[in-house]
Symmetry: C2
Subunit: 216 residues, 2 copies
């Protein structure tokens, strides 16, 4: 058997191969999200995806190659969701509020946290060579908020005094930290408070200035 | 051999026993902080602490008992640090700024993140029965900020309109999320931005009102 360690690139697979690879990834992502990377093993994944050990090895020869593909899969999903029409490119405070409402109402926020952040925190200290991939995903995510705030400035909705990168880091940090605290407490309140306060802070730069924090 | 699974309670140990237990814990906490729970094994811990396998087993018969003790040890340390004179019970904006400066300058923020938060995120999905302990630690940590903000209100430093629990959740979430983003990016900027923005938000409630955000 050849000594491969990297996953098969999807573009080199047949249509059927791509479908099998996608099915494995979907089940791996769900298992890892529910139980964590360390508690997810090949046996569970083979059973969940209905594949053989040699099939799994064919697509993902090592755990690192599988985890890397799951990171890419989760990153793609979270970035696509944030870029969806629902949030209208985050060019208004209402879209930020809609975003917060979504995750506050999401039943798995308190149980498993953020699909990407919980995975990142679990493996950031391990030897798995995935930090570059994670950094790229979080940078793109941060940029979605930063670009939205820059557009709010161009549209005259928030003051030019606001620092879009700083506000974007606040939003994403409040989200990630709030998700961790909500998981630990099994209570959505820390996430809800953190997101509402972070959005209130963005709102403090609203133009014309908001008279008072009437919707706290 | 008796079938114990819980760690020996320190108060039931002799002075020498307490010292040995403390030495094991200190090394376990450092190994886990640097490498993560999963990559830390008994062999490394025995070597680092200079103890035998039977000694380790005497004090911490299971990995769960060891992890639980490390959580208590790290929680005690972080809570004691936050309650130290340095931060004067967080009863001023300056003490919050001093706190942010400390962690922004702390060289391990970008490498290993928060001593307690990084441990919590790594194990929150595992079967280890430690969630109650983590929840208690984060609640006490949150309460330090909440109590500080309540005192700022009593002292007339910030408006009675501010919601102390919400602001405390923002500060702790920004800290935890910023630590994760800083670790992933190997760059302190996300943490620095998140903390400064969170403190700016608290400052928005300052009395008399701050004229402008002059120190952004």
């Amino acid at each position: 058997m050849e000594a491969r360690t990297e996953a098969r690139a999807p573009q080199k697979l047949t249509g059927k191969g791509q479908a099998t690879r996608a099915r494995i990834l979907e089940h791996a992502a769900e298992l890892i999200y529910a139980k964590g990377v360390h508690a997810t093993n090949n046996e569970q994944l083979r059973r969940a995806a209905g594949i053989s050990g040699s099939q799994l090895n064919y697509y993902f020869p090592t755990k690192e190659s599988l985890v890397l593909a799951v990171i890419q899969w989760q990153a793609e999903r979270v970035l696509t969701f944030h870029r969806s029409e629902r949030f209208t490119r985050f060019e208004s405070l209402d879209s930020l509020r809609e975003w917060a409402r979504y995750y506050i109402a999401y039943e798995r926020s308190c149980q498993e946290g953020c699909t990407l952040g919980s995975l990142a925190s679990e493996i950031i200290k391990t030897d798995l060579d995935v930090r570059t991939e994670l950094a790229s995903a979080f940078r793109q995510w941060r940029d979605i908020f930063r670009d939205g705030i820059e557009r709010m400035q161009q549209l005259g909705r928030i003051s030019a005094e606001a620092d879009p990168t700083r506000l974007a880091h606040l939003l994403l940090s409040a989200f990630q930290g709030g998700m961790l605290l909500a998981q630990v407490a099994r209570d959505i309140a820390p996430l809800e408070d953190a997101l509402r306060a972070a959005i209130d802070h963005v709102r403090a730069f609203a133009m014309p200035p908001a008279e008072e924090l009437e919707d706290q």
